[in-house]
Assembly symmetry: C2
């Protein structure tokens, strides 16, 4: 199975121009890619000047030019796509990701952890961290700043995700690119971080999209500034094998009964001269 990303610059407020850029990149040799990840907020752009601009560039999923466009691309190329999506749900906007395939829309995720001014435009996600079985693999989705929250990766992994697709509009150079492979390692799964490039007003995006494997190695890393397709061959079996030594299973060795935040009496009450206190 081959998975990849499109790293490019969606055009703020010009969906037609954005789709044209995707078209151009899809002309490249896709080498039989089965799953392709696009950046965050791909149908709208990111750095809105106003709520009105965020609203005008949003789309309802069930009546979206961009969703129909992506489904057509999936049909033509027998492909699945995960893309960031400015989602309008009645009177509310979500910073979402959509998963589509040759037969249509498969699932959505709504960003749980909003970054800076995103809080002015979007309501935080309210669908948890769902995963979706597309037959060849199980897919989870997280978006950009979500990467800072280890809980999100773990939940997706424990629900069975083999690949986490991570549409991003990262502005800090290098941090997520250091952290994401560690999330891949700690959860033994593949991660595709599809970052964007270019600038919008005062924000510059840092590219350097990556594909990390369950050993925490990079299979692919894009340039910080160029529009680029990145593709890697993966082995889903590696993501499903949580047996990390002969006697250690990454998930069975977890101790959820000991991961309590409750303040409990510390069973260690024997020593004399005990000056601190357990919390």
């Amino acid at each position: 199975m081959k998975i990849g990303f499109l790293q490019f610059a969606p055009v703020l407020g010009d969906l037609r121009a954005t789709m044209h850029r995707i078209d151009s990149l899809l002309q490249e040799n896709m080498e039989g890619c089965d799953l392709l990840v696009l950046p965050e907020l791909c149908n709208s752009g990111y750095n809105f000047q106003s709520y009105e601009q965020a609203w005008e560039t949003s789309e309802p999923i069930e009546d979206s030019i961009f969703v129909r466009y992506l489904i057509n691309k999936c049909r033509e190329r027998n492909l699945h796509v995960v893309s960031g999506f400015n989602e309008r749900d009645r009177d509310t906007l979500y910073n979402s990701a959509i998963l589509v395939g040759p037969h249509g829309l498969i699932g959505t995720y709504r960003k749980l952890h909003l970054f800076l001014n995103e809080k002015d435009f979007f309501r935080p996600g309210n669908q948890g961290v769902p995963v979706f079985d597309i037959g060849s693999c199980i897919i989870g989705m997280l978006i950009c700043f979500d990467w800072t929250f280890p809980e999100a990766w773990r939940i997706a992994a424990l629900k069975g995700a083999d690949i986490i697709c991570h549409p991003s509009n990262l502005v800090l150079p290098g941090l997520a690119q250091r952290g994401v492979p560690i999330h891949a390692l700690l959860n033994r799964l593949y991660i595709v971080t599809a970052n964007r490039i270019g600038a919008e007003r005062d924000l510059s995006f840092t590219g350097s999209s990556i594909i990390a494997n369950p050993r925490g190695d990079l299979l692919c890393q894009a340039s910080p500034i160029k529009a680029e397709v990145g593709i890697a061959e993966i082995d889903i079996g590696l993501a499903r094998d949580k047996q990390i030594t002969d006697r250690n299973d990454l998930f069975k060795d977890r101790r959820p009964e000991e991961y309590s935040l409750l303040t409990e009496p510390n069973p260690f009450g024997r020593g004399s001269g005990r000056t601190g206190h357990g919390k």
Copy 2:
């Protein structure tokens, strides 16, 4: 405040020789160090030939030559020490860490996640992930392979740990040294990984002890093979500041109500051609 590690090789089954090695390292200029972390299973050594050897090299905390020795060192130098400790509690052994200060024993932690053959000797920890307030800071403890479990770091952080002391006997080169700074970054706290060097039978230990800061940077890294003291100046205020942008607080932005493993009906039920299923 200054924190550090002693990287050296405890001597399997010879506590006197181990204490002699610690004495030698303590002759070095400690530069006013306030907290010192020693490797895992420091009073016994690691690679036991038999359960009998694990048992014979264990000590009850309340009647331990090694604990008394460390408390004396803390008194002499006005220091706190965290050390790995082969703990005997009635008929049970734990792979533990102890925290001692000038006034005596302050707390213990029992390793939650046992690695490979440790499962033959030790019972897994049963005290959760406690943290201890020593006045100048709040200290959590994790041991070696625990590093692979993001839950453990997060629990300690959410309980208020400023510094996590991480006595280790790591055998894989480099992996924990990549992961630990990311745990420091994701939880915005300091971590001291005190690894050992040397070999015991078929096992070689990989040294390269580190001190990581809340930005995920290394303040100090030891050699892979030499006995060494590493010390770094730290700023507890940096660990207590979880405000990572003007509008993002690392802990307040968490969404525990959305971190559910439960299978729930996916609220996304509108689209046609939905082929996968939410889990």
